[in-house]
Amino acid sequence: MDVTYARDDVVTFTKSIYSLIIFLVLWEAVAQMGLVYYYYLPPLSDVLARFVELTLSGEIPYHSYLTLRRALVGLVIGTVFGILVGILIARNAVAEWFFDPIIKIGYPIPIIALVPVFMLWFGIGDQSKIIMVAIGTFWPIAVNARNSAQRIDKNYIRSARMMGTSDRRLLWRVVFPAASPGIVTGLQIALPLSLIITFVFEMVAGGGGLGALEIEGVRTFDPTQVYATIIAIMLIGIALDRALRLLRNHYLRWV
């Protein structure tokens, strides 16, 4: 689905953290004084202790690894196919004729609704999760690659051809670099989507991973595990977001 708000516009770093400190102190105080049920909101100190415990015991690292492997392998596969199909559509009239209506119909499907379908088709294992992430991330990448490859300045192509670039090499020499900003935009949508698909699949079908670890906390009435897992998810989210920004700043300096 086309989730296209520009992530660069998001407030990048905290201008002031006093409100966070107030919030955290209140959290600890309210929970310690027993003003809320432990099940709703355990004290911050308990949550942090649990986070440390789960990290040292290797549980959080192991489940993070499972989640990241599923999300990122799927993302890479989806990205490669998305780029290929997106550029093909933009550069080839027959491919455009064939794939464009399919993309138009396929893009608005809330992909997450297909979790039970993938469970039926491919089971509940890693393979099934990876295939679903690959298919889910394919659409935003393909659509953005297509859009930017279609908008390539005609004179770039002409310049390359007059300087001796063959039609076949044109794709790699001009079309791909010119489309790369669009591909990165697609990645900015696809990356969170890959995590969303993985988490929900893990919550519904189990098989380990942070989604499963978190929902296990709910089922065993262990709120600290839920909160500790969310901290891990937040840290991973921050790390991946930074990584994508670095990638962007490095490869798209020219934009």
């Binding site: 689905m1 989730v3 708000y5 990048t12 919030f23 709703y40 004729w97 608005p108 709910v218 897992t229």
Partner: protein
């Protein structure tokens, strides 16, 4: 290289060209549907991949018996309340943060922390607080839609054309009046962009919450039908929720273009 596909249609009379184009445009989808119909029951067992005809019959059946409407209503209620709340809170917060430094300083850190978390990861937390059903679904839809709406309102209200503000001030508009008469109208198109971005996110959040934490709604129906092995029902519900999501996005875009005529 893609050459312009003016092609062979040029030989046809103009009024047939449009119809022909329309048919030609839909051939690929027809091919996919025919392949699907053909594969179902031959290459793949029919219960693993029910044929389009079976699924269509199932949808017609769901609509005829009215069975689906109670679940659809539940889902749309959750969607509507969650999105509505996020618009109400997001617009106020976004404009407030843009026009007032203390408000911005206070909320900024929370948004920075909420932003990198895929909002569906908060479904279990919502279950801790609100149990199973409408509560967690509304909360997750609300949180998922909040950021795009805040960001669009914030950016728009932050760079309202300074000339507009000056000319309004020159004419004696001040304070709340300025906000109401200049800032908010100038921000509306961007708020609508934010809502447009939030609609598909809302459907993802809704279905996720219903898959994990609900005994009602289309998301739950999809999962349940899959678990009891009624696969044509499962596919029928997926088609229904996709059509609803598509209708909302398209309907919103049409409505927006009607309302915001000044951009």
């Amino acid at each position: 290289m893609a050459h312009a596909d003016t092609g062979s249609l040029g030989v046809l009379p103009r009024r047939f060209q449009h119809a022909t184009r329309l048919i030609v445009d839909w051939i690929p989808l027809a091919i996919v549907v025919v392949l699907w119909e053909f594969a179902s029951g031959t290459a793949v067992p029919a219960d693993v991949l029910p044929s389009p005809v079976t699924v269509s019959v199932q949808i017609a059946d769901l609509l005829a018996t009215g069975e689906i409407f109670s679940h659809l209503f539940v889902s749309l209620f959750r969607f509507g309340v969650g999105l509505g709340l996020s618009i109400a809170v997001g617009v106020v917060l976004g404009i407030g943060m843009a026009r007032s430094a203390p408000i911005e300083n206070f909320f900024d850190v929370f948004l920075s922390m909420l932003y990198p978390i895929p909002k569906v990861a908060l479904v279990p937390l919502a279950m801790l607080w609100l149990g199973v059903g409408t509560g967690p679904a509304v909360l997750v839809v609300f949180l998922a839609c909040l950021l795009p709406i805040i960001m669009n309102s914030y950016n728009a209200a932050g760079d309202v054309d300074q000339n507009l503000v000056w000319s309004a001030k020159m004419m004696g508009t001040e304070g709340w009046e300025l906000l109401r008469k200049v800032v908010i109208p100038a921000t509306i198109p961007h708020i609508l962009t934010g809502i447009r971005q939030a609609i598909p996110i809302a459907f993802i959040a809704l279905v996720s919450a219903e898959l994990v934490a609900s005994y009602e709604g289309i998301g739950y129906l999809i999962l349940e039908a899959g678990q009891v092995g009624n696969y044509s029902l499962m596919f029928a519900n997926i088609v229904v929720i996709s059509a609803v999501a598509y209708a909302f996005v398209t309907g919103f875009e049409i409505a927006r273009d009607r309302v915001v005529v000044w951009t």
